[in-house]
């Protein structure tokens, strides 16, 4: 399996919308 790990998720807003069946990604500053 391919794994998208936490180093590659840095400074991204990762949104899990499980009911909506989707995952969102956007650039973020984390602040």
């Amino acid at each position: 399996v391919t794994i998208f790990g936490n180093t590659q998720q840095k400074r991204l807003q990762v949104v899990y919308d499980i009911g909506g069946g989707r995952i969102g990604f956007g650039p973020a500053s984390c602040s």
Partner: protein, 428 residues
Amino acid sequence: ATTAAKSHKTHQTHHTLQLSSLLPATICTPATKEDNYNEGLLKVVHKNGPCARLHQQDQATGSPTDDQLLEQDQSRVDSIHYRLSNKLSPHNVQQTDGTTLPAKSGSVVGSGNYIVTVGLGTPKRDLSLIFDTGSDLTWTQCQPCARSCYSQKETIFDPSKSSSYANVSCTSSSCSDLTSATGNTPGCASGSSTCLYGIQYGDQSFSVGYFSKERITLTRSDVFDGFLFGCGQNNRGLFGGAAGLLGLGRNKISFVQQTAQKYNRVFSYCLPSVSSATGYLSFGSGGKVSSSLKYTPLSTISLGDSFYALNLVGISVAGTKLSIPPSVFTSSGTIIDSGTVISRLPATAYSALRSAFRQQMTGYPSAAAVSILDTCYDLSSYSSARIPKISFFFGGGTVVELDPQGILYVVRSTQVCLAFAGNSDDSS
């Protein structure tokens, strides 16, 4: 005009990085005031960074080296592969169990992990938990530590001092839910008929104890009664001073599912770029959403009920899409995991990525490999470096450009490595 065009193209395809920005500071620089963490919003810090309350202890006991962290990361990946390729025969948990649980039924939690602080019990006790989207059961070490507890920074939770604590009966349906969440059939404590859980991770770390209910508090306005969690009486492993784990997987007993009524199974996080900065973990859809957020469909993966799967379809380096047949990605599937440090790619895809990256980095002297990272550079004589941009293409037309900190793993300025690794073959 030619110079301007060249400069523009460089901007589109490469990052120019100040090398000092890649190195973690020894002082925590919080992004937001503590008081602003409310309404389902928790501060996220790196377990081994200066922002963690556990940091002082790490300094005393010695933080793991990069080699150790990457080896632990490989163990976690091995255990994920094992879970996805073998449906384990459930093992019965006995009251005295601990060392006899099947190995590799969970994931390794000791590598590069992020922690959040939650309150447990009445009155509440603050506990730092590793947050993990790759597992389901939330657990913490509990007094009287009947068998064994590892050293943790905060006071170990004592259920006898909480007015909201209750054990879960062996006959309850929630007790049965443990089988799918942990890979182990729950046990039953003789005499009290209390449900017993057991979970073991890929590096032999484990927790065994009472399956219980308790009040959990995220913020003043986010309080949940009757939250199901593991009250560990026998715990060992590489938890680095954290009090336990917050399971954010897809299973029925995960934190996400147990709080579905309030948060509607929506959560988000932002992981900081360096271990000396803070990020956040937010529950519910009320938080701020990035204006350029792009969604990709969530899917499932065979034998991996707990995992969040998505469809990776391609990768680009320096603006050029790599020539990788889509079947390379679709045959094994892709998951997103907050507990795996380094992304793992199918062998063919990693080989193409590495080759394109090396081609773009020919101007820099190479350095020795570090554990699973085989493409490293000595950047000690540079104040800044120009590195190619990398983007991931997901199903639904979603393109995610990685932050520069998501491309490199910095061991030291003489060893700055491409932060990807390959699986041993495309089918694994």
